[in-house]
């Protein structure tokens, strides 16, 4: 049973993580769907466990493992192709509501199997209550192993698909060995065949990746398709145009002079003598080509995906480019060097991902400011069109960017247009008349095609500038890691693309009166479960709810903080989930094995202490220590919540031995669902991280109160 449990943890968590990564990659890199996918996963596991637990259902673990092994690579391919099913033409975006449904549907089959396998293994071994906890514990060990293996392999060594095939083979071989015992005469050939298959998969997977992208981007020639530790990339060609696709979204196009000029030239209108230019954020290959035409300009490009530059032959012979393979935040925070830049171009891309919005925070901007020369300009081009009108939702986005820049720099200027562009500086650089701007641009050794008088007379008309300034003056909100309003407003802005999304987003994110109901309902649940008037006591049910809520909430918060500080969760998600699962099972197992009476209070105190410690320290963790910090925080939380789960079981069922065995699990599931969706998607941009953590502490305190009151 132990070996099967180990394999279950390995398969279950491995599959979950691979599917989550594939979903993030296929759904435009948005982390919003991690929450919905985890929600779907929880429901699926619970349903699977319920189905498997029914007396008349007897499925052999070996059959279920086999099914799972075959399903996993198929689901990875299905996830990658899912945009084709829900869109009618190439390049069409997927509405949020559809993406959320995809994220749930994709995780369902493996989730169901994982839950089913748990009960099937127990049935197969006619396990008693003690064995359940032991199985849970070894499953956790398997989960931890899967997390570490995937983090080490995917992107760095193998593609997601190759890892999925490898995992499937490991599971198939593993289950044969685990079920029948090791027999060298039989198993050595099996292992040899499996290893050969892994090698073949590793060789063939890139071709399959390419073929899948060929189906997705019909009419384009797919030059290459590959994973990095940060994202899935595809390079396409059509009509002599090279297109870089990142996580199913177009990141850069070459040639695209209009975009390239907009991304590089506007700050030169204020500082035509600029030489040292630093480019941060979204990749744009045209910048390099263009900078080569500007005399004496030295370009430094920071991108964590160094491999991109070797994959795309875009280097310009006319310019010396320094490429830094590093995360932008880490790069600017390190600062220190004597080198100062005349212009820093921050191209955050889409704020729908925390990857972009974290580049428009006081922390980042303050660090970037240290790298600027005294009269240097930080330039931030956006994708928002303010040329003909500015809608309410767009105004909120633009205002948040403007205010965040204003909170750091003394001078901020904006250009309206199809791309609204922000300039920030500590020097009085911007108060120059229109004619001087045009004159400065005409001094450049490259004659701009778009950033010149032929367009700017219209773009920078008083009418448009006044309207834009009026729009950004309507709000005083600032984007920060504590309160990422940009992602929130971008979600609202994008929701307008679909009527259903718009209705849901308006209801959930704009009409906030219902937020008050959440604490009221939690408090009502607390009161109901400790009520003495009830005929049957429900002590423990609130603890189940809190275990679910706190585990998923703190896991999602940790993911968010990691993502905003490290830049990407894509690779590390596996190891973080793996150690979390291990912590959960270890906490539950240890508590089950001990006879301590106040395990629930201890677990809650441990959770509170961890939350408090996290709240006090998450901002000061050095970049190099980020992973270690979260690898310590998450298992601590998981250990405590696992322990709380076991303690709640003891508290509830010892008092009520005849009660429905699913009641506690149901409460935990409700708590988990709330924790997966509400805190980071809804409350984080509304009340901020600090208050979110304070709220968690209040809920934990309520649970401690329950324990003390119902001793």
């Amino acid at each position: 049973m132990n070996r099967q449990g180990l394999l279950l943890g390995f398969f279950s968590t491995g599959a979950q993580v691979l599917l989550l990564r594939e979903l993030v990659s296929s759904l435009n890199g948005s982390e919003l769907f991690i929450g919905t996918a985890l929600f779907g996963w929880l429901i699926a596991v619970a349903t699977g466990a319920y189905l498997g637990g029914r007396a008349n259902v007897n499925a052999k673990p070996i059959a279920l493992f086999g099914m799972g092994a075959l399903l996993l690579p198929a689901l990875i391919i299905a996830t990658r192709l899912s945009p084709l099913l829900v869109t009618s033409v190439v390049g069409e975006i997927i509405p949020f509501s559809t993406a959320a449904i995809i994220s749930i549907v994709v995780t369902l089959p493996v989730g169901l199997l994982s839950g089913w396998l748990f009960t099937a293994i127990l049935k197969d071994h006619r396990a008693d209550a003690g064995s359940i906890m032991r199985l849970y514990f070894v499953e956790g060990i398997g989960a931890g192993v899967a997390g570490i293996v995937i983090t080490l392999l995917v992107g760095a060594v193998l593609s997601t698909l190759a890892v999925a095939v490898t995992m499937a083979l490991v599971v198939l071989v593993g289950i044969v060995v685990a079920s029948k015992g090791w027999r060298p005469a039989r198993d050595v050939p099996i292992v040899t065949v499996a290893l050969t298959a892994v090698v073949v998969a590793a060789i063939l997977a890139p071709r399959v990746d390419k073929a899948i992208d060929g189906i997705k981007y019909e009419s384009y020639q797919v030059v290459s398709s590959f994973d990095t530790p940060y994202s899935h990339q595809a390079i396409l060609i059509r009509d002599s145009t090279v297109v870089l696709v990142t996580d199913n979204t177009i990141e850069a196009v070459e040639p695209d002079l209009l975009t390239a000029e907009n991304l590089l030239l506007p700050p030169f209108a204020y500082t035509p003598q600029a030489k040292a230019v630093l480019v941060i954020g979204r990749t744009e290959f045209g910048i390099e080509q263009l900078a080569g035409k500007l005399a004496n300009v030295e370009l430094t490009i920071v991108d964590p995906r160094g491999v991109l530059f070797s994959e795309m032959d875009v280097s310009s012979p006319d310019i010396k480019v320094t490429r830094v393979t590093d995360d932008p935040l880490a790069f600017v925070l390190r600062g220190g060097s004597e080198h100062r830049y005349d212009i820093i171009v921050v191209n955050p891309g889409d704020f729908g991902s925390f990857r972009g919005s974290r580049l428009v925070t006081e922390r980042f901007l303050n660090a970037a400011r240290q790298l600027l020369s005294p009269d240097g300009i930080l330039y931030l081009p956006t994708q928002y069109d303010s040329d003909r009108y500015i809608t309410n939702r767009e105004a909120k986005l633009l205002a948040a960017i403007y205010n965040t820049l204003r909170s750091t720099f003394q001078q901020v200027e904006i250009w309206p247009g199809n791309m609204t562009e922000f300039f920030a500086s500590d020097a009085a650089t911007f108060g120059i008349p229109y004619d001087s701007l045009i004159s400065n641009l005409s001094k450049l050794t490259y004659l701009p095609q778009y950033i010149n008088d032929n367009y700017l007379f219209d773009r920078l008309s008083d009418f448009k500038k006044t309207r834009l300034l009026g729009s950004v003056g309507r709000s005083s909100e600032i984007n920060s890691q504590n309160r990422p309003v940009l992602t929130h407003y971008q979600t609202l802005y994008r929701a307008k693309l679909s009527n259903l999304d718009d209705r849901i987003a308006s209801l959930v994110l704009e009409k906030r009166w219902w937020y008050v109901a959440v604490p009221i309902l939690i408090f009502a649940l607390l009161v109901a479960t400790i009520s003495r008037d009830r005929r049957r006591r429900s002590y423990g049910l609130f603890l189940y709810f809190v275990a679910g809520l706190s585990s998923l909430s703190l896991e999602m918060i940790s993911f968010y903080v990691y993502q905003t500080q490290a830049g990407s969760l894509y690779s590390e998600m596996a190891v973080l989930i793996g150690v979390f699962m291990f912590g959960l099972s270890a906490g539950a197992y240890v508590t089950y094995r001990t006879t301590a009476k106040h395990a629930d209070v201890c677990a809650l105190l441990m959770l509170s202490a961890a939350t408090l410690f996290f709240a006090a320290t998450y901002q000061i963790v050095p970049t190099a220590m980020l992973l270690t910090y979260h690898l310590l925080f998450l298992p601590t939380v998981a250990l405590a919540t696992g322990s709380l789960f076991a303690a709640a079981t003891r508290r509830y069922y010892e008092l009520n031995p005849g009660r429905n065995r699913g009641a506690g699990y149901a409460f935990e599931l409700v708590g988990s669902a709330v924790g997966a969706i509400l805190p980071t998607i809804v409350f984080l941009p509304t009340i901020g991280l600090t208050w979110l953590l304070v709220s968690m502490l209040l809920i934990l305190s309520s649970a401690i109160a329950e324990c003390l009151l119902t001793l």
Binding site: N28, V89, V90, G91, E92, I93, S219, Y220, R238, D239, S240, T241, V243, T249, I250, V253, P255, D256, L258, T259, D385, D387, R388, Y389, T391, N392, N418, Q449, Y450, N452, D453, N454, Y455, F457, D458, S461, F463, K464, R483, K496, L497, E510, R512, W513, Y515, V527, I530, R532, T686, I687, G688, T690, W691, V694, L698, S701, S702, A705, L708, L709
Partner: protein, 379 residues
């Protein structure tokens, strides 16, 4: 006091104290205050719409565009800007523009209509189609209560144009057909003050409303989005045939007409499609109708499609020329020869453009200075 009650009171009291004393709670309070303030409908127009009929069994049928929406009480048509209120069809956007700008006429684009002049440009919320590539989706796919509207009567629009010295008024950005009454009244009032009116439309309008409107307009630019019916069905959510019929109607009315086709990679960029389009225009409208091919940029639902490559546009240009179209233009390629007007007979440079600027104006009246050929348009 019982222990349980005491704990509850203590918890509530502590939370309340923290909320009021720390100063950390205002974000919550503010956001809730904002939330309660949201959702108030802005004041909309209640002007009775034109071109509809009451149905015998109740409800009305709109006749402004080929959709012929049948609308029951308190429902709206597809465009979202016209509502049945007690079997009286009302336009909700009359005098309520959500966008107002002064644009160069070249930006519409009109290349043969008073080059170098400016147009007071306006739009209201709503549209009668739903193009997946719409550049103005934020207003065209909104209902009027979702946009910030300005109160501006037709006379106020005319006054503004006079005050700003813009000789043209352009109905643009979203689909002007859906604010027909407003456009009609502005155009009528504008003519009294010597102001010209230009309509930038998808051409998805019924024959009769167009016939009545044309006398008050001076030029029309039609977005002929494709020459394929299935493109109109899948990408535009409209129909091609009524658009082609209206183009013929416009041309035969004598109003100045220009055509723009947005070239969207992979969707309408084949040689065969460029050829069919040019042939249809030449056969049905004439070789002298200016035909613009413009560049797609990722917008709205097609955010994951790259911009149209220049070579594709040049291919469209070459094919249209080879089919005999005399005035073919490529949009948004500054400095490109296809941005300028050349004499179809002697190839002399007539109007040189760069961006939205006219950098050379060689026309003499409406004649080529070299070969004296008459150049069609309003100059």
């Amino acid at each position: 006091m019982k222990r349980r009650t005491f704990m509850s009171c203590l918890g509530c009291g502590a939370a309340a104290t923290v909320a009021t004393q720390t100063g950390l709670f205002p974000p919550v309070i503010n956001s809730l205050q904002n939330a309660f303030a949201l959702g108030e409908p802005s004041e909309l127009s209640s002007m009775e719409a034109r071109h509809y009929k009451k149905l015998p069994g109740g409800g009305i049928e709109c006749g402004i565009c080929p959709r012929h929406c049948q609308v029951t009480d308190l429902e709206r048509g597809y465009c979202g800007s016209r509502e049945n209120q007690g079997d009286i069809y009302r336009t909700l956007v009359y005098g309520k523009p959500c966008s107002l700008n002064i644009d160069p006429i070249e930006k519409k684009p009109f290349f043969h209509f008073y080059p170098g002049t400016q147009a007071l440009s306006l739009a209201t919320a709503g549209c009668n189609v739903n193009c997946k590539f719409c550049q103005n989706w934020e207003i065209s796919q909104s209902r009027p209560e979702q946009t910030e509207n300005i109160d501006l009567s037709p006379q106020a629009v005319v006054d503004l144009a006079v005050q700003r010295k813009t000789p043209n008024i352009a109905y643009t950005y979203s689909e002007p057909t859906i604010f027909y009454e407003y456009m009609y009244d502005i155009a009528e009032a504008g003519h009294k003050h010597g102001l010209r009116s230009v309509m930038v439309t998808g051409g998805y309008i019924e024959q009769e409303p167009l016939r009545l409107l044309i006398p008050h307009l001076d030029a029309i630019k039609v977005d002929l989005k494709s020459i394929r019916e299935d493109y109109y069905k899948t990408i535009v959510n409209g129909e091609l045939k009524p658009v082609l019929d209206r183009l013929v109607q416009m041309k035969s009315s004598g109003i100045w007409l220009e055509i723009v086709t947005l070239v969207v990679p992979t969707l309408n960029d084949t040689d065969a499609e460029f050829r069919d389009l040019a042939r249809w225009v030449k056969t049905n409208l004439g070789a002298d109708v200016p035909l613009h091919f413009s560049q797609f940029y990722p917008q709205y639902l097609l955010k994951n499609l790259p911009p149209t490559p220049q070579v594709t546009l040049e291919k469209a240009y070459a094919i249209a020329h080879s089919e005999g179209m005399q005035y073919v233009y490529l949009g948004n390629l500054p400095g490109h020869p296809a941005e300028s007007t050349h004499c179809p007979k002697c190839n002399a440079m007539l109007i040189e453009r760069n961006g939205y600027r006219i950098t050379q104006m060689n026309l003499v009246g409406n004649h080529c200075p070299k070969c004296q050929s008459e150049i069609p348009g309003r100059f």
